[in-house]
């Protein structure tokens, strides 16, 4: 019991510390990339304090954190205080709780701890192993995170915040559906909701889900961007329109929690993309493993290598997130909604249908044609992607008419203005 | 090549499909092209009908050689005691000795069973089983046929039949429909309801073809009603016109009277025969091979008379015969192509068709035959008299239609095989020349801007030569001038009557009918040519509605006219003297039966049908020609040459109120108004008052008590759902408390 508690605490500490540190440093990376894309150098001065050692600016996150924590906090007079205080906590909680089920490696080798500790070996590198509802848990926690934003916006009692909150609520609820649809395809292919099982399935077959379900990957990626409110979907805090969106009225450590939560969302989304679609810790030839359930064949080098590969993949995805930010402009809000409801959900459904059919009949098709059915699945997956994309392009569902309605009577507030 | 089983359903199916297509797409897609599906479907149907006709002909001529010699029926003696249960009245008793080997040609196409009720009817053992006394005389196989049936099942099969009668009717109907549809393209051009018209026409063609090819009474009745519906829709096609709407209503209601009789007749048929099929099924069909070949006899006596008269009532309604003829002249409010197609050529002949189809039933009842003949004769004469004085061209033609239909019934009522075939032949030729005349009248109306009163125009032959010549052909055909269709079809009718007058037991009755027919022929010639002279001769006058440039109609209208004129010229000569039509029709089971009966009668009397009286027939023909020419001459004198002043003559006749009698259509509308409409209206008013005052008052009184009670409880219903929920909770509380304590 004690050993298990300690094991859990160690893992929690590892994950929390790692993720928080990572998010701090990812801020630095984000600033670097922002600078580089704009032909600047980015922060590169803050190194070890009181010395001239700059270390390419690696001390910057510490300085930022300290600054935000020590800064005076201004609480506006007009806010709804309980909600205003509750919001950052909820946002942060929602962001951090996701990591309970996200594996950051596979397992540790057996036999490294004494029997008397009664540990369940091999140690799985995830805080809550064996949680049977892993994937839905992710969705549930993601749903909780909406509250923080909504409450922050409402509690701030400020129209920019409120607009941001309302937009955010609509966006997050809408994009939960394509997110779920993207996940469902993978879950269907795996037959389990557990993330380690999803990785193991990809590793065992050697076919990553991105190859098997490219359409699902696309849908999931777009939905993940939107759920993380990253550009081009950062409507809730669109600076040009809403000052700062729902965190306009926040400052100090509360602001830091909100900002860190955004990075945590991004990290979680990157982890999920890697786990669901990019094979997790798997690389062909390096970390192939039929062994994941028992971990018998896992040796220390393999275990470490898997962690490294997984984190490398995650980092790559995060870099993509950051580069994407500077590559494409923000969507208009109506376009955002159109994309969710009229593009991504049909795509997700199409993907789900194709995956279901292939899971059910794939081996028969394979047997009939003499070709591995996973090849068929990949081919059909890409064909589906092209077909639905082409259909979407032709049907053009994301177009909306935003022009003012001149056939309606002038709204009263405009009429007053005219007078 | 084409199987009958394929052809037969296709013929009605195509117009139905066209009707659906036009109905669905007409208002927004087809619009001015609405005629395309209709004409195409009817055209193909027409082609298929001709193919069917040919196929039937091939089948008959192929199978005529190898008809089974005998079905081994024993002769059934006619017993005097048979009368009490209706078997074997004198014609029926005699016919069994005919051998009845030939039962004609028929082919049944069963599409599906619409309804099936097991053990619906009464057991008809007493109908089919021989009397116990006669049982010994029957052969072994006869007893197997005559086994007492269990209670028969009531089955409605969607069964179509192909036999010569149906084939001829189908060909006639679809051909005339095609011609009229083509004509309508020009005539209805630019009308607001263009698509609607062609949808209705297609629907009508579907209904009519189904009617003539139906093989049971239910289906016949259904499509009998369906053509009535189409007729109603098309009469009231211009429903904005109050006259058209009223005419449609009148037609519909008058037809209901006839159809009620028809329905009763069908019920009686069911209770009598235990089936409604024409053909043999599990039970021998009413007109089926079994019954016709003598295995299951027809019911005679009062039952037969009742059945026949009820059916006749239906036929009277549909074919506008004497008491129920009043709707047809009013039906001329519809578009002229409709008058030509429905109210002259096809639908109104449904009654004739039905009576002809049921010939064996009528043969079982002499009284019914005579009544048919009397009604036909009366109608023919009466309508002709009325037509003399009418001034509306279409009404003249309408009354002539009634008159000609009367001729047909006269022929059917003659009760001889020759009469039946003559009636059908008249139906066939009449379809062409009456359609021609109506279409000609439509052409005139088209040119005159909708005016149809012959007093308003004259001398139109100069501006409408084609219409003039074709109309002339039609008039000659209708009048029955020698080589034209009317002569060849009307003459056999008169001959049949003449024969019947000389041979029948009721000779004097038929003699008077023969005279009425002659008189009718004269009057027909007179009024036909009266209208013709007044319209096309004399000084050129056009009504102001026609505008300055009254002109001949477009080719799409004159083309059908010419086609029909050619048919009128040729069809009589082609089928009349050669007797092809008659020979062909004789292979119809019903008529085959009549022939067998006639042969048997002839054998009984030792005479030979149709041979001995050749001289008499020539005399009849010459007499009729003379009468017709006299009528034409008289009209020419009155209206062309003005040797006789028609007004003076009218004034002279009117001293005995004769002219007014004819002009006011013998006051039939007024009589109906006084005897039916007003009493019904008064009764309705009384009933309404009674209902409103007495019955409603009582009911209201009963309703008052709950109302008072409700007023006391009303405040509980305060409209707030939560109070209702609270009441529920309190109720639940009481319930739980009672349960737990």
């Amino acid at each position: 019991m004690l050993a298990q508690t300690i094991e859990a605490l160690v893992k929690i500490g590892l994950v929390l510390g790692g993720v928080m540190t990572a998010s701090a440093y990812l801020v630095l990376v984000e600033r670097w990339i922002a600078a580089w894309v704009q032909d600047r150098l980015g922060p590169n001065r803050v190194g070890i304090p009181l010395t001239n050692i700059r270390l390419w600016g690696l001390g910057q996150p510490i300085a930022d954190g300290v600054k935000l924590m020590l800064k005076g906090e201004a609480v506006p007079k007009h806010v709804d205080k309980p909600l205003y205080y509750l919001a950052p906590a909820v946002v942060f909680l929602g962001a951090i709780l996701v990591f309970a089920v996200i594996p950051f490696g596979s397992v540790l080798p057996r036999g490294i701890f004494p029997e008397s500790w009664q540990l369940h070996e091999p140690i799985e590198l995830v805080i809550a192993p064996q949680l049977d509802v892993g994937m839905i848990y992710v969705l549930a926690v993601g749903g909780i995170a909406v509250y923080g934003v909504v409450l922050g916006g409402w509690g701030s009692n400020n129209k920019y915040s409120f607009f941001g909150a309302i937009r955010s609520a609509a966006q997050l609820i809408s994009y939960e559906i394509p997110l779920g649809l993207g996940i469902l395809g993978v879950v269907l292919a795996t037959g389990s909701l557990r993330l380690d099982a999803i990785i193991a399935q990809q590793a065992d077959s050697g076919w990553w889900n991105i190859v098997q379900q490219p359409l699902g990957f696309l849908v999931f990626t777009v939905a993940a961007f939107a759920e993380a409110t990253r550009l081009p979907f950062d409507l809730p805090e669109a600076e040009q329109e809403l000052v700062g969106g729902y965190h306009t009225e926040y400052s100090g450590i509360k602001l830091m929690l909100l900002l860190v939560s955004e990075f945590l969302h991004m990290i979680a989304a990157a982890f999920l993309m890697v786990v669901l679609f990019l094979g997790g810790w798997h690389i062909w030839g390096l970390t192939d493993g039929i062994d994941s359930p028992g971990g018998e064949l896992v040796t220390w080098p393999v275990a470490v290598l898997r962690v490294v590969i997984m984190l490398a993949k995650v980092l790559a995805v995060i870099l993509f997130f950051m580069i994407a930010r500077w590559s494409w402009p923000r969507f208009r809000f109506d376009q955002l909604m159109q994309i969710a409801w009229r593009v991504m959900i049909p795509w997700g459904l199409a993907n789900l249908g194709v995956v279901a059919i292939m899971i059910e009949y794939g081996d028969r098709i394979g047997a009939a044609t003499g070709i591995d059915w996973r090849i068929w699945m990949a081919l059909i997956g890409f064909a589906t992607l092209i077909i639905v994309w082409a259909a979407t392009v032709i049907a053009d569902p994301s177009r909306t008419d935003n022009r003012p309605r001149r056939d309606l009577p002038v709204p009263s507030f405009l009429a007053d203005e005219a007078n | 090549m084409f199987d009958i089983a394929l052809l037969l359903p296709l013929i009605p199916a195509l117009p139905l499909a066209a009707a659906i297509v036009i109905g669905a797409l007409g208002p927004w897609l087809l619009r001015d092209r609405s005629h395309v599906p209709a004409v195409a479907a009817i055209g193909i149907s027409c082609l298929l009908s001709l193919l069917l006709l040919w196929s039937v002909h091939q089948e008959i001529s192929g199978s005529a050689r190898q008809r089974p010699a005998a079905l081994a029926y024993t002769q059934h003696e006619s017993g005097g005691s048979a009368a009490d249960h209706g078997v074997g009245d004198d014609p029926a008793g005699n016919r069994n000795s005919a051998g009845a080997t030939a039962v004609g040609f028929e082919r049944i196409v069963r599409l599906w069973t619409w309804a099936a009720v097991e053990k619906a009817g009464l057991a008809h053992t007493e109908l089919t089983a021989p009397e116990p006394a006669n049982a010994g005389h029957l052969g072994a196989d006869a007893s197997t046929v005559h086994t007492p049936t269990a209670r028969p099942a009531f089955k409605i099969e969607i069964a179509l039949r192909a036999d010569p009668l149906t084939a001829v009717m189908l060909a006639t109907v679809t051909l005339v429909s095609l011609v009229v549809a083509v004509y309508s393209i020009g005539y209805m051009h630019g009308d607001r309801g263009y698509w609607r018209f062609f949808a209705y026409i297609s629907l009508f063609v579907f209904s009519m073809t189904m009617l003539v090819s139906a093989s049971n009474f239910i289906l016949l009745y259904v499509f009998w009603e369906a053509v009535g519906l189409c007729s109603y829709l098309l009469i009231g096609f211009w429903y904005q016109k109050p006259e058209a709407a009223a005419a449609g209503k009148k037609a519909f209601i008058v037809n209901r009277v006839g159809d009620f009789g028809f329905a009763l007749g069908v019920f009686l048929l069911w209770t009598t025969y235990g089936t409604l099929d024409f053909h043999d099924g599990a039970v021998p069909g009413i007109l089926g091979q079994t019954r016709l070949s003598g295995a299951a006899p027809f019911v005679g006596g009062a039952t037969a008379t009742a059945i026949c008269l009820l059916l006749m009532l239906g036929a009277c309604g549909k074919s506008a015969q004497f008491p129920l003829h009043v709707w047809l002249p009013d039906a001329m409010e519809g578009p002229t192509p409709v008058s030509a197609l429905i109210h002259a050529a096809t639908m109104v002949t449904a009654g004739v068709y039905m009576v002809a189809r049921c010939t064996p039933l009528y043969l079982a009842s002499v009284e019914a035959q005579q009544i048919v003949a009397v009604i036909g004769g009366a109608t023919a004469l009466m309508a002709a008299i009325i037509a003399i004085t009418q001034t509306d061209l279409k009404r003249i033609l309408a009354y002539s239609t009634i008159s000609q239909l009367g001729y047909m019934f006269l022929a059917l009522g003659a009760g001889t095989l020759a009469g039946v075939t003559a009636g059908m032949f008249h139906l066939f030729t009449h379809a062409f020349f009456k359609a021609l005349l109506f279409l000609g009248a439509g052409s005139v109306m088209h040119a005159m801007g909708g005016v149809i009163d012959i007093r308003c125009f004259s001398g139109l032959r100069r501006i409408m030569p084609v219409t003039h010549w074709t109309f002339l052909v039609g008039c000659l055909g209708l009048a029955g001038v020698f080589p034209l269709a009317g002569f060849w079809s009307k003459d056999p009718i008169l001959v049949a009557l003449h024969d019947q007058a000389s041979t029948s037991s009721a000779g004097s009755l038929y003699y008077w009918l023969y005279i009425a027919g002659m008189l009718g022929a004269a009057l027909t010639a007179f009024y036909t040519f009266r209208a013709f002279w007044l319209t096309f001769y004399g000084p050129l006058r056009t009504p102001p509605e026609a505008g300055h440039h009254a002109h001949e109609s477009p080719p799409s209208m004159t083309g059908p006219l010419v086609l029909l004129a050619v048919a009128t010229l040729g069809v009589g000569a082609a089928f009349g003297p050669t007797r092809l039509f008659e020979q062909f029709l004789l292979d119809t089971p019903s008529l085959e039966y009549a022939r067998a009966l006639a042969e048997q009668a002839a054998a009984g009397t030792g005479a030979h049908v149709g041979n001995d009286a050749h001289g008499a027939h020539t005399a009849v023909a010459l007499l009729s020609q003379a009468v017709v020419l006299a009528g034409i001459a008289l009209s020419a004198m009155m209206y062309l040459g003005r040797q006789i002043d028609p007004e003076k003559l009218a004034a002279a006749l009117d001293r005995a109120k004769l002219y007014t009698l004819s002009y006011r259509k013998m006051y039939w509308d007024e009589i109906y108004q006084a005897t039916v409409v007003w009493p019904a209206w008064i009764a309705a008013q009384i009933s309404a008052a009674l209902d409103r005052l007495v019955i409603d008052g009582l009911v209201d009184l009963c309703g008052l008590a709950p109302k008072l009670l409700g007023a006391a409880l009303r405040p509980l219903q305060n409209g707030l759902v939560q109070y209702y929920a609270l009441a529920m909770v309190i109720g639940l509380l009481l319930l739980l408390g009672a349960l737990l304590w």
Binding site: W36, A324, S327 | -
Partner: protein, 199 residues
């Protein structure tokens, strides 16, 4: 804005082609631009380590200086034109009787509050004797407000520091090429150039 306003001209949005609707060109365009810039040469100047190169010192408006004439005297004649022209009211002049015969007044004290100054160059424009000028010194900083109020001596010392690099305006103008405006087309009726003119 009243959408019923008749004066509004409604502009039709551009129709997108199939390819553009597929989002792929935009996608590729965005990512290639980003990647190109990601690896391109950076333009940042590492300021304290590398000196900032001002492209044209003559155009740059930095710290003020008070010019001296040939005899080393302050050129200013205390006419107050610069103080009048200054939109930030940062120039404070105390005039006094000139000790020299060639002018009536001279500034007894001449103070510029560099914290209030907006470096617009109006004073330089206004000065009739080219006494006040803006140099290209940009790294002006101080540890107190008082330090940032430049008096006459300090302004003159700026002149002493910078005179070698930046000659006085009067001398600059001689080096200027012939006036650009004289080359403008004059055949137009109003004689004014337009942006649309193809020449």
């Amino acid at each position: 804005m009243d959408p019923h306003d008749k004066s509004i001209r409604w502009i039709k949005p551009p129709e997108l082609g199939l390819l553009e609707r597929s989002y792929l060109p935009l996608f590729l365009d965005g990512i290639t631009t980003t990647l190109r810039h990601l690896f391109s040469r950076k333009k940042t100047v590492q300021f304290p380590d590398e000196p900032h190169q001002i492209p044209d010192p003559l155009l740059y408006r930095g710290v003020h200086r008070l010019n001296r004439d040939e005899q080393g005297r302050v050129k200013c004649v205390a006419c107050f034109l610069c103080a009048t022209a200054c939109p930030a009211h940062c120039i404070d002049i105390v005039a006094a009787e000139s000790p020299w015969p060639d002018r009536e007044k001279y500034p007894e004290s001449f103070t510029i509050d560099e914290l209030r100054c907006i470096f617009c160059g109006m004073c330089e424009e206004a000065c009739p004797v080219d006494a006040i000028e803006l140099t290209s010194l940009y790294d002006l900083s101080g540890k107190s407000r008082e330090e940032m109020i430049f008096d006459k001596e300090k302004l003159l010392s700026v002149y002493d520091q910078t005179i070698d690099k930046e000659p006085m305006r009067s001398r600059r103008q001689t080096a200027q090429p012939a006036g650009a405006r004289s080359t403008l087309p004059t055949d137009r009726r109003d004689g004014l150039p337009t942006d649309n003119d193809p020449s």
